[in-house]
């Protein structure tokens, strides 16, 4: 969720629209009190802050946010018509993470937002995860959780789960799984996959049921409806 504090309705609507088009959740506010109230309700992931406001200066808002424990680390990008170097320095030195002078392009704004979010919330390693029902997989950590409990999987079990989770709802034949995960190319009869599916289900406990057997065809994880 991204919040924006900006008194001019035109700019505000334009930016909020642009953000939503890029897949962000976004909400705009006209006055500092309205923003404060919203922050009490829900802390946004990032704040776009106009520098020049009729009542309370944007800089004052920033200082307040920075001095309150809950919002001390809130990523803030200042947006403003005041584009002199001194203005930028003032904004940044008071705790803003970025400072964009109007007029700015939508694409640049989006990119800067993404860059800041990336830096703040650690783009891949921590965030990157796959979930299905009670199962969560963190690929870069090679960790799997089922109903909150950490599960220790062997390599093949892990590969198998990842394969199924990455293509949820899709049915894989034993042969295609052997080819993809084992790299084998032979078509000979083998119960190898079955055995791994079994151990995998066992280790996943209740979540094991999310791996379905499609009789006569193969296996799949989830039916696409569950998130």
């Amino acid at each position: 969720m991204i919040y924006m504090l900006e008194d001019e309705e035109g700019i505000r609507n334009f930016v909020i629209y642009a953000l939503k088009s890029s897949g962000f959740e976004a909400e705009g506010f006209e006055t500092p009190p309205a923003l404060y109230e919203a922050i009490e309700e829900e802390l946004p992931e990032l704040l776009l802050l106009d520098r020049m406001l009729p009542e309370e200066d944007g800089l004052e808002v920033l200082k307040k946010l920075r001095s309150a424990p809950g919002t001390r680390k809130l990523p803030v990008i200042m947006l403003t018509a005041k584009g002199t170097e001194l203005d930028k320095v003032e904004g940044l030195d008071n705790g803003a993470d970025d400072y964009i002078a109007k007029p700015f392009g939508t694409m640049e704004l989006i990119s800067r937002i993404k860059a800041l979010l990336r830096r703040t919330y650690g783009s891949s390693a921590d965030t990157e995860k796959l979930s299905l029902g009670g199962i969560t997989v963190y690929p870069s950590k090679h960790e799997v959780f089922a109903d909150g409990e950490k599960v220790n999987l062997t390599l093949k079990e892990y590969d198998l789960l990842l394969m199924l989770m990455r293509n949820r709802g899709q049915v894989f034949s034993r042969d295609s799984l052997l080819r993809e995960i084992w790299g084998y190319d032979f078509a000979g009869e083998s119960r190898t996959v079955d055995v791994h599916v079994r151990t995998l289900r066992q280790k996943l406990g209740d979540c094991g049921e999310l791996i379905e057997t499609i009789r006569g065809v193969g296996y799949k994880a989830g039916d696409g409806s569950i998130d």
Copy 2:
């Protein structure tokens, strides 16, 4: 320590001088290879990267840095004469944290550097010391403590530990560790890593268990849950 990659000597010297005047340690490099070499030696806190370089494009340098585990999180500010919105978007979307178009003012540059350092290291707490369980590393002093006891590590052991501690929870394959720590052109056995992990674990005593073996994949430090 801040590094700068910039082919024009005039700008380079000017910026390095400005940085030093502001109390930063800084060093400039003329070519990508020189930068890479320096990074092998010491990882800087931040990198200023010129976009247009005669040999290798700045963007290529950025991509390389972002794809290597050791420098994936290195804060990077791009500095460049190319100031169109598309250029900025391109730089930011490829992993740069900020993008400043020339000509830029020294004060703005310093402020942006400070803002990024603030965001990255949270008021410089992280640079001073890294902790995981009973292990504490002081990178600036090259000192390591395990359960309060000082531990004497050899260079490779230290590099290995630092690598794992800086990316806790992340799994590293032997190959990627060899590439990052031993250098991209190291031709030796990947079992070499095992041996160093062993000596490292030994020296860390009980804390050695924090370095986990992920069978079939590699090693990692901490499971993300421990702080």
